[in-house]
Amino acid sequence: MSLLRLEHVSQRFGGVRALSDVSLQVEAGEVRGLVGENGSGKSTLMRVLSGELAPDEGEVHVGGELLAAGTPSARLSAGVGVVFQDAHVCPELTVAENLFLGDLPKRGGVIRWNEVFAEAQRRLDACHIELDLRQRVNQLTEQGKTMAEVARVLSRAPRVLAFDETTAALTTNHVEDLYRSIRARKEAGSGIIFISHRLQEILDITDTITVLRDGEVTGTLVTSETNEDEIIRLMVGRSMEGQYQRRPIGRGKPTLEVRGLQAGRIDVPIDVTVHSGEIVGIAGLVGSGRSTLLEAVYGLVPREGEVTIDGRKVAAHRPRAAIAAGMGFCPGDRRAQGLAMHQSVEGNAAMLVTGTRGLFTLADRGEEQRVMRTMYDTLALKAADPSAPISTLSGGNQQKVVLGRWLARRPQVLLVDEPTRGIDVGAKREIHELMEELAQAGVAILMVSSDLPELLGMSDRCLVLREGRLVGEFDHGVSEEQLATAMAATAVPVAAE
């Protein structure tokens, strides 16, 4: 009898099948790798495991016992611990307090701080993690926060343990620490699920591998008998039919030139040139610095280095200067950065018109209406009532508003981050066609996407970022396997044991 059994788990989100009939068994003392592209259902499966999500169908058994769905606290007491991508630690509390959330050692209602710190240190030692227990979590580095989250979950000595892309935020040294913790739990007889985009890590630490694609299990492998190529084949294996294929046109003059750019994660200067009429894709995993690159070029985050359009320098750190210089930017998270969700469709559409004019001038009603008409005509925006809140529109139509704002301005350079994330196939195709048209009209487009078929189909050239560095450049026609390999390879080889 396996320690962990996930049986016939299915989950739909609206019209999208996130998981369909996924079954998975993990034995005591086994480390199971879980791999798949973005959107393949890995994180959804982890939410089902942690009890955060009650699936449409399917059961979770631990140690032969069926666990009630949708009850995270019951999962904790059943010995299930999941380390999520976004840390669940309390930032204002110390590391030690986070290890005891809800059950600090007390005597007569008074917290025994000596015991807290002593016991916390014992727990950290037991899982091979080094952290300053008295530091508040929000004073830690990103890596420290992740390790605090790992310590929080591990300190309960869970029987079933899962890591959802925990290594994405870690450097090589910390990955080694994490490996030590994982091996210690393995010795203690826990069943472990390890998710990572870096295939080398999967090969390093796991015993067996389950591959997911579009919410289905496409293969279960024994790690010692497989290799990266086989894994990628099982991950990708999707037919490219029906995917939009751009008709590359001759490249024009250099329009956007980025020289010696450094910002945030990007600590080695990067040069990028995008020509008129060219779509340059940027591939990279979460945390590779791909979004930072766009934000730095646009001037949203502080940068070093020079950005020019047609040879004219663009002032840093002011989106307004970037817009005036002919840039447009569609952010990756439209709800958080792109739209005022409870305001009207027309209000959101008009935002850029407001941004490009002085505060003490009359609102340009004519221009606002022109933008709105462009969205209806060029983008086939489906919004019956422009005065209704934009939250009532579908994701695809919301994205059309984010993108459509720029159309009326005809920017020379368009920066797009995840142009089609979370939108339906039809809208996706329309947005691809629009980008194609813009490129035909001479716009230079720099596009970040985690959707590899999209990157391959749309890009004339593809740049690959890994851990803040530019590690590769491919022309149109590169295979998905090549791109995935370049993205996922471990930058600094992990020292052999």
Binding site: R320, A340, G347, M351, T354, G355, T356, F360
Partner: protein, 322 residues
Amino acid sequence: MVAPASRVRRVLAGAPPWTGVGVVWIGLVIGLALTQDAFFTYTNLTDILRNNSVPLLMATGATFVLITGMIDLSIGSMLGLCAVIMFGLMKLGIPVVVVIPLTIVAGALLGGGFNGVLISKFDLSFFVVGLGSTSLFLAAAQLPTDGQPADLSSRAGFDVINTIGDGSIQGFPVPGIIALCGIVVGGLVLRYLNLGRALFAVGGNEKAANLVGIPVVRTRIIAFAMGGAFVGIAALVLAGRTFSADPQGGIGTELTAIAAVLLGGTSFLGGSGTMVGTLVAVLFVGTLQNGLTLIGVQQFWQGAVTGAVLIIAVALDRLRQR
């Protein structure tokens, strides 16, 4: 075939957010007109406007700030400080036609230059800054006056201030005209000026506004400055009515003003709001107080009724949004 209940709900969903207060207000007016002989008279109705022109001016200014998702909690003690500043300027012998704009500018500087800069530019919590500057402004107003109301009636040019605060044209109150003009100007700014668009955008989603080039910090500072300028105008009106500059005269008015703005359908979270809503809400609260006085309800009970109505109205509005 649409069921009547859902049809009603659909109509309500499309109605402006101040519909609820508006309906209750009209009901109240009709009820009082039918039962109280003294209510529906020209004198009483204009008195309501006269008595509520200070809250109306304060609420108009606060509407700008609330639309950007912020609140200026210090406008009450700012009202006293503006009055004391006006008193000081008059004492210096500065002509009243200069004192009036200077008082308004003083309000704009206290609101925008002080609160606005601290909150927007230095990214401090509006709540903490509001509490701090409430004490600061009050102290600054009390120090030169020993905390006592300063008599204005003997100052040269007070007749002008008195007209602003308590005058009448054809029996219609001058402060009411000023406050209504304020609402109209405010409404025009929100509707037709690019600044109005920017206020809503910043309140709706600050990041998105920044991304399309809207100067978020400057927009917020201007909102606070406009809030302060309206406090300056309110200080002129208040001094003109009470014949004095009272450093403590504005204490508590901030809550009435902000409550009225919220009652008028402006969202606590920013990004929405109308001047009409603010006007209707102030008039509703004013009418309610007037009616209670006419009926002969004891003054302290009036406060309780007004408070309860505010909470009920906001709760109803929340239900409407579901």
